[in-house]
Every structure is written in C-alpha cells, then in structure tokens.
C-alpha cells in the first residue's frame, strides 16, 4: 500500500512553496505591478535552501516574513555560492534593475551592480558558463567557440553599460549619465565578487575605456563648434558659451578628469588670444566656465603631482589667467599662489607673482604708511619674496630702488 503522503508529494509541495516565495521576493523587490518571472525563477529559492540559514529563511518567508530571505540574497560577498545560484541571482537582479529603471533609478542601479557582481563571479569561475554554453550549442558550434560565447556572457552587462553611456552621450542624456556613473563604480562589484587584484584591474581598465569612449562622444560636438567658430572668426565671442557646454559635460560625467584635460587643452591657446584683447573682459568671460574645472584639476595635482605631471603647467597657467583678470587684489593672490604651489617653476606665474608683490610693496610705500615701521617691514618682505621669484624683473628693480630711497630718506622718522 502506498503511503498517503509520498516523497513525490513532498517534492511537489516544495516546488509550490519555492514558487510562492520566488513570487513574494519578486513582488517585494520589483513592485507588485511588475510582470511575473518565468516559473524557472523558483529554482533560485530551491538553491537558497542549501545556503547556510536558507531553509529557515524560506520557512519564514512562507509565513510572510521576507526579511531573512531578502537579506540572504544580498550577502557581503558571493564567494562560496554555487555557480547555479550565482547565475540565478545574476538574472534575478538584472530583472529587478529593469523593472525599477523608471520608478526608482537608485534601487535599479544597486540591483544592476549586484547582477554585474554575480556575472563577474561566473566569469572568473569560467567552467559553469563554458559547460552551459556547450550544452546549449549542442553540435552547432565547435566546443571552444561555444565556451568563448559562454565566457562572453559574463562581460555582456558591462559592455551594455558602455553602449548605453555612448548612445546618449552627445545629448548628455540621463540614462547615459547613469550608465557612465555605474562604469565608474564597478570596483564595488569586483569587491562583492571577491575578484583578485589582476581581475579587478582588468575590469577597471575595461570600464575606463568605455567611460573614455562615451566622454569622447560627448565632447566631439564641442570640437566641431570650436572649429566652426574659428572658421567664422567668432571664436573669442563664442568660446565662453562653448566652454559652458564643456562645463555641463563635466558635470554630466561626474567631474571626470578627461573633460578637465580637454577643457585646458582646448582653451589655453584661445585664452592667450583673449589675453591680448583690450581689457580683461574677454579673458574673464572665457575663464569663468572653466573655473570649477581648473580648481578640481589643481586639487588632483596637489594630491598626486606625479600622476598629473603633464598638466601642472597648463593648469598653473589657467590659475594665473584667472588671477590676472580678477578686479580686486585679495582675489588675485590666492590663485597666483596656488599656481606656484602646483608648479613652482612656472615662469609666467613667477613673473606675475613678482609683479603683484611689487604692486603690494609700492602701495605700502605710498602715502603716510611709509612712516610706520610695520608697513616698511611688510614692503621689505614683499620685495624679498619677489626677488626669490623673478630677480631679473625690471619692475622689481624700480620697487627696490624706491624702498631703498624711502628707507634712507625717512631714517629717524620711522616709528
């Protein structure tokens, strides 16, 4: 006589429970209006039962408390999970990301990152994807080709991010911006996947290349606009608006240094043209949209001078430009000083700093202040500093002579 509740019945019940829990997880993470997943998705729950704490988490989920099972799905590291379970989570979180893309971009990005981490685990493990690909290909492909196609699946989500970032780059679209930002955060996915340094570096390079391509796509119209304005002899008039666009691209790219370098490369020669124009307004207008970018570049140089060696002089020159076109002396000096900090040998920065110090000394040596010892001491300090910066300056010679003359003339009157 057959038992009333057979092993087959137990298996059927477990299947029903798995489907129930998979449905609850999906509704909680993707929203109740999301289209249901295929029945195979319940396989993830079946595999979760084998994870430490999985069986009890699923029991609780059946009773309606999903907290444990949801926590189980987002471990600090995927190391130790079976490839099949990792594959399920890769697909699951990619579906969650797609379902939330419009309603909750932040949660969608977090889910996408989880999915990418899972794919990276499978890519590093290799054998699971290769074996699965061989089964799917059957006799239609040689084994090695099928295996390569299987391995490629692990990097496809990253390639898709690159494509998404490039597609909307020229318009600085929101979706492209999110993809670009995620390419910049892939280190978190590699950490979650437990990748070693070699694999992490490889992923980072891949992501950086894609970011670079997307940013170049965004900057391409700027080059066209600059060429067009030059062709019409309108570059000085139109450059501020064009560099305002560069500033927007910089913000879109989450302040990427590639944009800063582009801006400094393209603007330097134009800034010299503006410098030679009458008055400071043309140069001021050109420097204005570049101010934030050059400040950020200076920060980068200050924190790692060797890495940015090629840009220290250009960045310093821009700080000098900005300093020179400031209307008030107190606004000028910090920029010139910063230029000297990041590039102490910058000739123009030294000349301009020398002249500013002479201006300061001349101001101190004019009027009644010359009878105050403190004013004279400050003027002497300024001249001494100017001498260290650009001793051969003719302007400095005049200031030194004036200082000496006052010192001699007022001897005995100075308090």
């Amino acid at each position: 006589m057959e038992a009333a509740f057979r092993d087959d019945d137990a298996r059927l019940l477990a299947r029903i429970e798995d489907e129930l829990v998979a449905g609850l997880i999906w509704a909680r993470q993707a929203g109740s209006t999301a289209a249901p997943l295929p029945a195979r998705a319940a396989g993830m729950v079946a595999l979760l039962r084998a994870v430490d704490g999985g069986a009890s988490a699923i029991e609780r989920a059946i009773e309606g408390d999903l907290a444990l099972v949801l926590a189980l799905l987002v471990p600090g590291s995927l190391v130790g999970w079976t490839p099949a379970l990792v594959h399920h989570t890769a697909v699951h979180f990619s579906r969650v990301a797609a379902a939330l893309a419009a309603s909750d971009p932040e949660a969608s990005d977090a889910a996408k990152l989880r999915s990418i981490a899972a794919w990276l685990v499978l890519g590093e493990e290799r054998r699971y994807l290769e074996a699965l690909a061989r089964v799917v290909a059957g006799t239609a492909l040689p084994g090695a080709e099928a295996e390569a196609a299987g391995r490629a699946a692990a990097l496809r989500p990253i390639d898709e991010l690159g494509a998404a970032a490039r597609t909307g780059a020229a318009e600085c679209a929101d979706a492209a911006q999110r993809a670009l930002a995620m390419l910049g955060r892939l280190d978190r996915a590699t950490k979650l996947a437990g990748l070693d340094e070699r694999a992490t570096t490889s992923i980072r390079r891949r992501a950086d290349t894609m970011r670079g391509a997307a940013i170049s796509t965004a900057l391409a119209p700027i080059l066209e606009a600059l060429a067009d304005a030059s062709g019409r002899d309108a570059i000085i008039r139109e450059a501020p608006a064009i560099f305002e666009r560069v500033h927007r691209i910089w913000l879109w790219s989450d302040r990427d240094e590639q944009v800063e370098r582009f801006a400094v490369d393209e603007a330097t020669s134009l800034a010299w043209i503006a410098y030679r124009e009458t008055g400071w307004d043309p140069l001021r207008a050109m420097c204005e949209p570049l101010a934030e970018m050059t400040d950020r570049m200076a920060e980068r140089i200050e924190s790692d001078p060797r890495r940015h060696l090629a840009y220290t002089a250009k960045c310093a020159q821009f700080l000098v430009f900005r300093g020179e076109c400031k209307a008030h002396e107190p606004d000028r000096w910090p920029l010139i000083e910063r230029a000297l900090t990041i590039c102490p040998t910058h000739r123009n920065a030294r000349v301009v700093a020398c002249n500013f110090l002479c201006d300061r000394a001349d101001l101190l040596l004019s009027g009644n202040a010359i009878f105050q010892a403190s004013a004279l001491a400050l003027a002497e300090q300024a001249v001494a500093r100017a001498e260290t910066l650009f001793a051969q300056s003719k302007r400095l010679e005049k200031t030194k002579a004036r200082l000496e003359e006052i010192r001699t003339r007022n001897r005995g009157f100075i308090r």
């Binding site: 059927l12 289209a35 195979r40 990619s94 799917v136 492909l141």
Partner: protein, 135 residues
C-alpha cells in the same frame, strides 16, 4: 515576465536544442494570429540559426535548477467493489505486465486508469462491466 528574452517569451527550455525549439514554436504557430506568427518566425530564426545568439539568450535567463517533482498522485478511485486476494493479483498482473514493470511505472504513463476503465481490459469485452476477474 521578461518579454525581451526569447526563452521566456515563448516558454522555452533554455537548454533546448534547435529541434526542440522548432517543435515548440511550431506548436505555438498553429494557434498564432499573423503578428504573433511573425514574432514566432523571428524568434525561431534567432534561436535556431545563430548558435551564439542562442547561447547569449539562454544564459541571460534563469537556468532550470528546480528539483524534479516526480509522479503525481493517483486519482481517487470510483466507489466500486475492490477485488481482493488472488482475484486482485490476477487482475493487476497483466496490466502491470503490459506497462512494463511491476514496481516502477513507465514515465510515459502519467497515471493509471481505474481498472474498470482500463482500455486494455475493456477492449476484450466492451460490454462486460463490472469486471469480476480474468480467466
């Protein structure tokens, strides 16, 4: 359900080969309206003519990892007198023999019909009901 994945869209087994995919899509095609038929045709071409795309699609959906559920329970028997003792053995033996095994049912037989409806037995004498034994 993810409409963009062809295995999900057409309820296909991701590990299925071109033959099984063709069979399943042909079944679907029989009841499809013209726009759906176009979609089916496109899916069939995608999955059967481009093995690399089939791999990509198959890997981007959930793998089949659910444990098998086994044999469904037998249907509740009709309230007819149950043969007992030797009589039962005589009735069951030829049926089980016809199915191939006395302990493990064939996987092709989803469930056994009640004896009084067994076509093997009824074929001998359609008028004879209820069965009292086989000699």
């Amino acid at each position: 359900m993810s409409e963009s994945n062809l295995f999900d869209r057409w309820n296909l087994d991701p590990s299925a080969g071109p033959q099984a995919i063709t069979e399943r899509l042909r079944e679907a095609m029989e009841e499809a309206d013209p726009p759906t038929a176009v979609e089916l045709r496109r899916a069939w071409e995608e999955l059967t003519m481009h093995p690399k795309r089939r791999i990509a699609e198959a890997l981007s959906t959930f793998p089949e990892t659910r444990p098998p559920i086994g044999r469904p329970p037998l249907p509740v028997r009709a309230t007819v007198p149950t043969p007992a003792g030797d009589e039962a053995r005589l009735v069951h033996a030829p049926v089980a023999g016809a199915l191939g095994s006395s302990t493990t049912p064939s996987p092709t037989v989803r469930c056994l019909p009640a004896l009084e409806r067994d076509p093997l037995l009824r074929a001998r004498n359609p008028e004879a009901a209820p069965l009292r034994g086989v000699k």
